[in-house]
Point group: C2
Chain length 462, copies 2
């Protein structure tokens, strides 16, 4: 494994040329930002953050994050307006994209390098006004705990590994490990290899508290973060779980990949081969796939994707209540013009008849209402061996597409932010319609492809 | 209700003519039995039992049970041989049928009245050798506790009601209330009406201990009879539950019928109308019905029926494991040449694909075996949102008839007593084949008919 890791490092540690180039851009835009800021405010500081500052970026993937720190006395509106103005001036002459975290910020590409200028409040520790205000403290914590170059390269290995297996990034579409989280894990475990060896032993709820804020009081930690499968207390803010974004699925995929890698170290974890699947062949080992297509305008990922997930989850739950057996589901979106929810079912047609469990004969009140309700509809009703009333009922809807249509009509299932999008154009279809829509095939491929590629080492390929 | 009950009683209390006729037959056969016995043994007693002795029979339905009490010193084989010989001699000239309880006995029809001669051991209380030895003690208990003619007529009402709603008889095919149990219930509650009013308040486990053997120690009673939904301690033997045969379904049907009757007293509970159903119409509100036909020779009810039930239950459980949703099932038999098991399913065809739930990613050992097993078969495998491995598997069998065939091939599912019968001829079919087999239509009608007819009063008819 050591040789393999050395070889990977050769590729991912930036060389002097790259460092020089990045340094030059940083200095240039730091200066531009300071200059621009001086026209608008008295107090300001331009602070380089991100992996470039921390020296943990992967060669060829540097992003320059310049934080424009402004006075906490500025009111929010003022802060936003002035922040954007300064960023605009600093990036003059470049094509700018407006992005949104808690506040808007700008990014532009300079010689192929992404440069972001992010306004933040300059506060003291713990007095943060917006969540981005924490960043300088994160940067300083990592800097003082990753002084060793080798340690920083371990972060690079971990990030590359995470990217390879698809668990890197706290975005709503990934639900994975942020760069800061990767750094903290290396601070905790020392090396990439040591982290892997520990990760495969992680239990149902793993808790990492680097600064020992909670003094081992696991009960309190779990009460504070009851749903998070991985809890890494932020060394600069004990009320925050740095791993809050990590879903069970992502955690599971990471741990499983670690296990596979330790057994069978291979380059493919860092550089996964692009897998070409033939949809027609792949579909044979799947259930019935139906899809719900939504057309809409440009939408923000962080807002749209969780709503798509909520809609999918509710839809699936209602379909299950209606008698359908759901195998898998997942939403996709280009965030520009369309989103699609795939639902894979055991069968998209179910039988008309089903067993309805009624009350025990002991319960006079429930017996009466059960009998009245079911007899008036002509259902077959009887007391079964277990002493409970039962009925053979009839489903009105036995077709999954119809079922989705009827559920959507209920209205209340649709998250507020999707109401508009859903009004525009909805299409519900099966495989046939799917194959005709070229624009959806990329999504379909993603849906049908197993991202847990490393399990191929267990037997044949998958 | 009082008028209705009076009217029923007019029909079911035997008149003087009937009593005289019965009395004459009893005396004639008592004498014959005594005479025959005197040829074989020194010690004997002929004891009239049953509802004729207790004066609780329903007009026109008298059965004469003569117990031939023999010395407990007789070895079993000797007892059986001599007992049968005496019975044969006593019934000479009549067409005799050999029946089996714990021991064989004979019955014959005399002027349309069934006369049974049942050998038993004459023992003291509690020293019973065979279960029928208890009978004289039961008879005496009821005699001394039902001295009042009105009380005996209440038993008649109860029996007629039980027969009407189909809960009378401890036979394996009914799983209902024996005559003795009906008598004890009237001894407990005084009148038919009072019993009904109490029965509708019966709870999950009702315990009646007339002689207060257990002094209210319900815990012990439940430990002794853990599965019986109704527990009526035998006044002549505290280790026995007189209601042991009563199933949850029968108990439920009785309680529900009591409730209906109290709300809406009607003659139909005692004299249910024969319901004519049109199978074709009825089938429309049912699921898919498939049947398993067994051809066999004459078989004893008490032996065959529980085995048919066991086979059905196992079959149903296996079908459920294979992915079929079962609505109802029930075996029928003529006990002469054929038995049939009906199984009603949501659908007799299920989809090929199904979701297989695997282990959590935490469990390395299970993960490995799960992956190896499923990947080698080319199933689609992934870690789901809940952090668990899942697979989309393929069913080999998706047709219920095929499924039954394959389950029967496993062999071990078949109860020992049915092995022979099953070897002979088995047929598995659906509705079409069923409609062609006239001999099965009566059974099918029973299967499709609701015996809980009184629920018709709740709404329309069923």
């Amino acid at each position: 494994m050591e040789d393999l890791l050395k070889q990977i490092l050769k590729d991912i540690v930036p060389n002097e040329n790259e460092r020089k180039k990045i340094k030059e851009i940083v200095q240039r835009f730091k200066k531009k930002t300071e200059e621009a800021a001086s026209h608008y405010v008295k107090e300001y500081e331009v602070f380089l953050g991100g992996s470039v500052r921390k020296d943990t970026w992967i060669s060829g993937e540097a992003d320059i994050d310049l934080f424009l720190l402004l006075s906490p006395t500025l009111p929010r509106e003022e802060f936003r307006r002035i922040g954007l103005k300064i960023a605009e001036e600093a990036l003059k002459g470049y094509k700018k994209i407006k992005r949104f975290a808690e506040h808007p910020y700008l990014e532009a590409y300079v010689d192929g390098i992404r440069v972001s200028i992010v306004p933040a409040y300059k506060t003291s520790k713990g007095k943060w006004i917006s969540s981005v205000d924490r960043t300088p403290f994160h940067v300083k914590y990592v800097e003082s705990n990753l002084r060793d170059e080798n340690a920083r390269n371990q972060v690079r290995l971990l990030k590359k590994f995470m990217k390879g297996i698809g668990t890197y990034g706290a975005e709503v579409t990934v639900k994975g490990f942020s760069g800061y989280l990767c750094e903290l894990l290396i601070i905790k475990y020392g090396t990439f290899k040591s982290l892997l060896k520990n990760a495969v032993k992680w239990k149902e709820r793993t808790i990492i508290d680097l600064e020992n804020y909670y003094k081992g009081d696991l009960e309190t930690i779990i009460r504070v973060f009851p749903r998070d499968p991985l809890i890494v207390i932020d060394p600069v803010d004990p009320s925050r779980n740095v791993a809050a974004a990590v879903s069970k699925r992502t955690l599971g995929r990471f741990v499983s990949a670690c296990r596979s890698f330790l057994k069978n170290p291979s380059k493919c974890f860092f550089y996964p081969e692009k897998r070409e699947i033939k949809i027609e062949d792949e579909v044979k080992r799947h259930g019935k796939i139906i899809f719900l297509l939504l057309k809409h305008g440009r939408m923000v990922e962080d807002i749209l994707y969780p709503q798509l997930e909520r809609l999918s989850r509710k839809l699936v739950r209602r379909l299950e209540e209606m008698g359908f057996n759901i195998l898998r589901w997942r939403p996709f979106s280009d965030f520009k013009s369309k989103s699609v929810i795939f639902i894979e079912l055991e069968s998209d047609i179910i039988s008309e008849n089903y067993l309805h469990l009624g009350p025990s004969f002991f319960n006079e009140f429930h017996e009466e209402s059960f009998l009245k309700k079911n007899l008036s509809k002509g259902f077959f009703v009887w007391i079964d061996e277990d002493g409970k009333w039962k009925a053979i009922k009839r489903r009105k809807i036995t077709n999954a597409k119809e079922a989705i249509k009827s559920v959507l009509k209920e209205g209340k299932i649709i998250p507020h932010g999707l109401k508009e999008a859903l009004k525009a154009e909805i299409f519900i279809g099966g495989m046939e319609e799917l194959m005709k829509r070229r624009g959806l095939l990329k999504f379909l491929k993603d849906f049908l492809t197993i991202r847990e590629f490393w399990i191929g080492t267990y037997e044949g390929s998958n």
